[in-house]
């Protein structure tokens, strides 16, 4: 069994690149990927739209998935933990259906902001975000956030 954690990100209303823009900055995604998390997106956007979003951001995701096909992600990746971060009850529904832990992006953003108001701001640097989130890592992984 792979000991890694897989984190699935909703896009619209969750990531800063979504439409509407969400509170979560891509620095968070980059940090997670650098820490060895399996990362990708799960959205009602088409797979082509999701891939285009990641390409614009210069991030190579491990997976892209349609919102209602999260179960296939779970089957494809043998990870220890599966987490979906999103902003709606629809996200919560499909996360539960695929047996993913669901983290509400507004809760996550609130926790990040409580650690350092800069984390969710426009000008927070990858370095400072990494430092803040690195500090969180004392608790091993994203479980401390959820």
């Amino acid at each position: 069994m792979d000991a890694r954690t897989l984190v699935s990100f909703d896009i619209d209303g969750t990531l800063e690149t979504g439409d509407p823009a969400g509170p979560l900055r891509l620095t968070f995604v980059r940090w997670a990927q650098a820490r060895g998390y399996v990362i990708g997106s799960c959205s009602d956007r088409t797979l082509g739209e999701q891939s285009a979003m990641w390409a614009r951001a210069g991030i190579v995701p491990d997976f892209v998935s349609r919102k209602h096909e999260l179960t296939a992600v779970r089957v494809a990746w043998r990870c220890q933990r599966f987490v979906h971060i999103g902003d709606t009850r629809v996200d919560e529904h499909f996360a539960a259906q695929a047996d993913f832990e669901f983290i509400s992006v507004s809760d996550l953003a609130r926790r990040l902001a409580a650690i350092d108001p800069m984390t969710c701001s426009q000008d927070s640097s990858p370095a400072s975000t990494g430092a803040v989130l690195g500090g969180m890592d004392r608790g091993k992984d994203l479980g401390q956030l959820g």
């Binding site: 619209d12 209303g13 439409d19 509407p20 823009a21 009602d44 088409t46 797979l47 082509g48 739209e49 285009a52 349609r66 919102k67 209602h68 902003d87 709606t88 009850r89 629809v90 507004s106």
Partner: protein, 403 residues
């Protein structure tokens, strides 16, 4: 033929549009004013020449938002002799008839929409949108009896999903007919800088999209956006003195049936209001679908477009699947009707964004003027707009032409 005394007597002389986006963080009024000022400037008119205003809404005395009461003051227009609020495609017709009847000479129509809380989960979490919806509800908009299961189809989208099933069942079509409409519109939107959705999609993307109201899927449904559109209608005589080559209103018709607001009681596929509207247009127009360069069928849902294509007479009821398959350009990922008519060149409500179809009028005017550069359809001279072409309430059919 029916009487059509207004034939070519009126023209659209100004258009204005805002960007389209799912969260522009602006009020409906702000979007309305941007579109309105752009339309007045586009026409090259002094704003005090505007003597009629059609604002946005269904309530004649609506407060807030972008109704005529708010707009006239906000735009600093001193005197008007005609005012009304309207929505979707039919407000265009109301404005034109006001000019034709002489109640005003130059009318400004303004339509602004914001992504409603009932349209989107993330919109429902936006405290500004929530508050606006709550207060407007208090201002007189009736919350229909959704708590009674028998009344949930009052002004609902679900019966359109049910009609998709009925259409597939009765005519033996496959959902490829809807897929082609979604793909065609997205392809056109990729070149429209105002469009909300501009990444190409495939037939496979359509079929794999999430089911919402079976058999309706996400890519059958239009995109709720924040947007504003405006245009100016005046007499043909006045239009000829203005900046742009006039785009004439050749003929128009609304449609009404006895179904009313309980859509479960809809009549047969070919008997609903949409067919009445397009039949009314045919009886008033010297131009036929064979003359059409551009067609803007409503596409709040893909099934609306199927209805418009058939009601306009491009094919017999139930034959749209074959028509789109035979007219499909696999290289361009679009279809043409009758070998030449381009459809939804702005991307429609499905991909440009949900403006009640009012963006069809502004796109048609721009294309007929010939000002669209790389996305210009060569020699476009005629356009049929079916805006807000609901099966049930005030579908508008409008034939536009240039000299």
């Amino acid at each position: 033929m029916a009487r059509n005394p207004l034939k070519d007597q009126l023209a659209v002389v100004g258009v204005g549009s805002t960007p389209y986006g799912r969260d522009l963080k602006r009020t409906e009024l702000s979007l309305a004013l941007e579109a309105a000022t752009a339309a007045v400037e586009d026409a090259g008119l002094d704003r005090q020449e505007i003597d009629g205003i059609c604002g946005t809404g269904m309530d004649p005395l609506a407060m807030g938002g972008s109704g005529f009461l708010t707009l006239q003051g906000a735009l600093g227009i001193e005197k008007t002799t005609w005012q009304k609020n309207g929505w979707l495609g039919s407000c265009f017709v109301y404005a034109a008839e006001a000019v034709f009847s002489g109640l005003c000479d130059t009318v400004l129509v303004v339509q602004a929409y914001t992504r409603g809380i009932g349209m989107s989960r993330s919109a429902a979490a936006d405290p500004f949108r929530l508050r606006s919806a709550q207060l407007r509800a208090a201002g007189g908009h009736t919350i229909v009896g959704q708590s009674d299961p028998a009344r949930r189809w009052i002004h609902s989208g679900e019966p359109y999903a049910a009609w998709m099933a009925r259409y597939l069942h009765d005519y033996g079509a496959t959902k490829d007919v809807f897929a082609r409409i979604a793909v065609n519109n997205r392809t056109h939107a990729t070149t429209n800088p105002r469009a909300a959705m501009r990444t190409p999609i495939t037939m496979e993307d359509y079929h794999a999209s999430r089911v919402i109201w079976e058999p309706m899927q996400m890519l059958d449904m239009d995109v709720p956006v924040d947007c504003g559109e405006a245009l100016i209608i005046t007499t043909a005589e006045r239009a000829r003195d203005l900046r742009h080559s006039p785009v004439y209103i050749h003929a128009m018709s609304l449609g009404g049936s006895r179904v009313g607001e309980y859509y479960d009681n809809s009549l047969g596929w070919t008997e609903n209001a949409l067919w009445i509207s397009l039949a009314g247009l045919r009886e008033r127009s010297d131009l036929t679908i064979d003359d059409l360069d551009l067609f803007f069928p409503y596409d709040g849902y893909t099934i609306d477009t199927v209805g418009c294509i058939e009601a306009a007479g491009f094919c017999k009821p139930g034959e749209t699947a074959d028509l789109l398959a035979s007219g499909w350009d696999a290289e361009a990922n679009i279809y043409r009707l009758g070998g030449h008519t381009l459809v939804s060149t702005n991307g429609g409500a499905l991909s440009h964004g949900r403006a009640g179809g009012f963006n069809f009028y502004t796109e048609a005017v721009r294309q007929l003027r010939g000002t669209e550069g790389e996305r210009q359809v060569p020699d476009a001279r005629t356009a049929l707009v079916c805006a807000g072409a609901s099966f049930f309430h005030d579908p508008a059919s409008v034939m536009l032409r240039t000299d």
